[in-house]
């Protein structure tokens, strides 16, 4: 598209007419979305898409908002596709098709929208997922943060037994697929204009997860540590499964850049969002094989702890000095401390 700038509008920014149902909107859909997502279902220009799926199907939806829209290592488009295909992967499913909804703010430069859409198309192609239907709304200037994206996905469950919290039991090994906290810190640094050599980890993890199933690893449960980070995910699973968890703090991989920014801002990296990582609960005998599979794919996974019988819902962190603490759910978002 770059050789033909802005073919889809006489405007260089989003105007209310882009959501108005008339010619301006049709051009946006045809010249931008249909072209970029290049899918026969979209080309039908119908109210929805027809899909043919086999076996059990997983479905998920997620809304995305991020400031800034573009950050080192990604953008809201990559985030929106990765988030939903990753949620399907967490269900043991191979992503098949996505529906995409945009809420555009009047005044958003169309070149930015074009970049976001191209990034979504590229990310979906990485995992072989189709973008088959969508919707666009425009809100007045000041009523949105540039663009909100909602993605809904369906996929075919390929896991022999769909991973879920109820399959977790004491003794299971807890693995994390790579260093934690990079997305959250990269976005925070971009927002606060801190100079840090760090990129978001926003990426699909679908191929890694499918590789675990292909290798026959008994994956009991999967969860991607997005909002609330690693610590919150462990708490959620421990609560739902009615088990406890013990984690060794030094085993959880954190890049020094992430640790340093968190230190300066008074944040705990274990609560900072990742967008291209997952936490896996696997049968104890399969932990080494799972690590080997992920390493062979170029990852840097780690075995960080194990599931214990109780107390149920409590995650205990063994610190580097031998002391312990409860890794609790936060009451809300982490806020920088006074001193």
């Amino acid at each position: 598209m770059s050789e033909c700038p802005l073919p889809f509008s006489d405007y260089d920014r989003v105007v209310l007419a882009h959501g108005g149902g008339g010619r301006v909107m049709l051009r946006l859909i045809e010249d931008l979305f249909v072209r970029a997502f290049a899918d026969p279902a979209l080309a039908l220009a119908h109210d929805g898409a027809f899909l043919r799926l086999a076996g059990p199907v997983a479905m998920t939806t997620d809304a995305f908002t991020v400031k800034p829209l573009f950050f080192p290592g990604g953008d809201i488009g990559r985030l929106a596709v990765s988030g939903t295909v990753n949620d399907l992967a967490m269900c043991g499913a191979r992503p098949h098709a996505l529906a995409v909804s945009f809420v555009l703010e009047e005044g958003l430069p169309l070149v930015e929208l074009e970049r976001i859409v191209a990034s979504m198309a590229a990310t979906a192609r990485e995992v072989g997922a189709r973008i088959v239907t969508g919707d666009t709304k425009v809100v007045e200037r000041g009523k949105g943060d540039g663009v909100f994206v909602t993605t809904t996905g369906v996929g075919e469950v390929v896991a022999p037994e769909a991973p879920r919290p109820s399959r977790v039991r004491p003794g299971d090994a807890i693995l994390v697929s790579g260093p934690v906290g990079e997305h959250g810190v990269a976005v925070m640094a971009a927002r606060e204009r801190l100079e840090v050599d760090l990129a978001s980890d926003a990426a699909p993890v679908v191929a890694d997860v499918l590789a675990l199933f292909a290798a026959g690893v008994d994956v009991r449960c999967l969860r991607d540590p997005t909002r609330g980070g690693f610590a919150s995910v462990l708490n959620e699973i421990a609560r739902t499964a009615g088990v406890g968890a013990r984690v060794t703090e030094t085993a959880v991989p954190v890049r020094p850049e992430v640790a340093d920014v968190c230190e300066l801002l008074g944040l705990d990296p274990l609560y900072v969002a990742c967008e291209g990582r997952f936490v896996a609960f696997v049968a104890p005998g399969d932990a080494d094989r799972a690590l080997a599979v992920l390493r062979a794919r170029g990852g840097a996974p780690a075995r960080v702890g194990e599931v214990v019988a109780g107390p149920p819902g409590v995650v205990v962190l063994e610190g580097p000095l031998g002391g312990e603490r409860v890794l609790d759910l936060l009451s809300g978002e982490q806020l920088p401390r006074i001193c």
Partner: protein, 366 residues
């Protein structure tokens, strides 16, 4: 990170712990003053590591916790006034007033913003001359230089739309109040390193001598805490009571004269209520009359009226080190970090919240 990693080094920590176990031959009660130190103790599970004869008592040094309910409510009401932008440090946003916290005020339409420096609030005021920018100046001697600098800058820029909601408190008068209490059980203090970075050591020799209590200036990394405890135990064992400064990589005996000069220019010492402790004589800072025009309480006269703390809450006893948080009947029941009844449950640096978050699995309430 330099100056962090070496002070978390397990081998060094082990060496100091060995000495602490060897030299703690009798039961002692030591209070760490600062919430940052409480946070480190909880985060690294230091209470699990020290000899059982050593009782650590968490002091009142969490500025979020000791800010009076009346001030918090005033902040919420000022934030809700049309045209006002209220700027605050992040952790003040979740402290509940009478009708919810600043996050709730924001949801109702107030313009509340998190800044990491008060100077950012001055810049915001310069950039938005049609709005009133109020900075919520909470903190000990540590943050007072930053808000004083903001006041000086606002004055230099001639800004008429910047003001300060001042809730600064001073640590040494609160220590004096604790020590003078007939029920006091604290035998040694770990003084707050960051406070001393600004103020130096000058306030402490008189306190140490008068109350015969060791005062050890202590930093915030695990090794700092343990070195502070070791120095305190050594003094207690030897029957000494002097001011020591093992945190001298940061704290100079005379503190930071430039920072103090800024504070002195803008503020004067005043009596001030501390949540949980009551009015501490000379326990806070107030704007000097020359800067009274920057006082948000004068510019926006909101009448909060009398505000009472929940009766069942035993925060005052926790803050004075008389009881451990779990001994309070409301701990973990009516009072949790999501619904704090009293000061020390409010911030993660508060004694009750730190206990709730990090030690619940060990000592459930009764």
């Amino acid at each position: 990170m330099k100056y962090v990693d070496e002070f978390r080094d397990p081998a060094r920590v082990r060496r100091v712990l060995d000495a602490l176990w060897r030299e703690t031959t009798r039961p002692w009660t030591v209070m760490e003053i600062c919430g940052g130190q409480t946070h480190t103790i909880a985060r690294f599970g230091i209470e699990d590591l020290v000899p059982p004869a050593l009782t650590l008592v968490h002091g009142p040094g969490c500025p979020v916790c000791v800010t009076p309910l009346e001030t918090i409510e005033a902040a919420c009401r000022i934030a809700a006034l049309p045209g006002v932008i209220l700027c605050a440090f992040g952790d003040m946003l979740r402290v509940p007033g009478l009708d919810g916290d600043l996050l709730a005020a924001r949801a109702r339409g107030a313009d509340v913003r998190v800044v990491t420096s008060p100077v950012d609030a001055v810049r915001l005021a310069a950039a938005t001359p049609d709005r009133e920018v109020v900075f919520y100046g909470v903190g000990f001697e540590t943050t007072a230089p930053a808000t004083a600098t903001a006041a000086l800058l606002a004055r230099r820029l001639g800004l008429r739309n910047f003001s300060l909601l001042v809730a600064h408190v001073r640590v040494p008068p609160a220590m004096e109040m604790l020590l003078a209490d007939p029920e006091n059980r604290v035998q040694a203090f770990l003084a707050a390193g960051h406070v001393c970075t600004v103020e130096g050591l000058r306030d402490y020799p008189a306190l140490a001598a008068r109350f015969r209590v060791p005062i050890v200036v202590t930093g915030f990394e695990p090794l700092d805490l343990l070195l502070g405890l070791l120095a305190a135990v050594r003094q207690l064992s030897a029957g000494r009571h002097v001011v020591e400064n093992p945190y001298d990589r940061v704290v100079a005996p005379d503190g930071n004269p430039t920072a103090r000069a800024a504070v002195d220019a803008v503020y004067e010492v005043a009596d001030r209520p501390w949540r949980g402790l009551g009015v501490v004589p000379r326990g806070g800072l107030a704007l000097r009359s020359a800067y009274a025009d920057l006082d948000a309480r004068r510019r926006f006269p909101v009448d909060v009226g009398a505000v009472a703390e929940p009766a069942a809450c035993r925060a005052a006893d926790v803050l004075r080190g008389l009881i451990k948080p779990v001994a309070c009947p409301e701990f973990g029941r009516a009072c949790t970090p999501d619904h704090p009844l009293g000061a020390p449950m409010v911030s993660t640096e508060g004694a009750c919240a730190a206990w709730f978050q990090h030690r619940r699995h060990r000592e459930a309430p009764r």
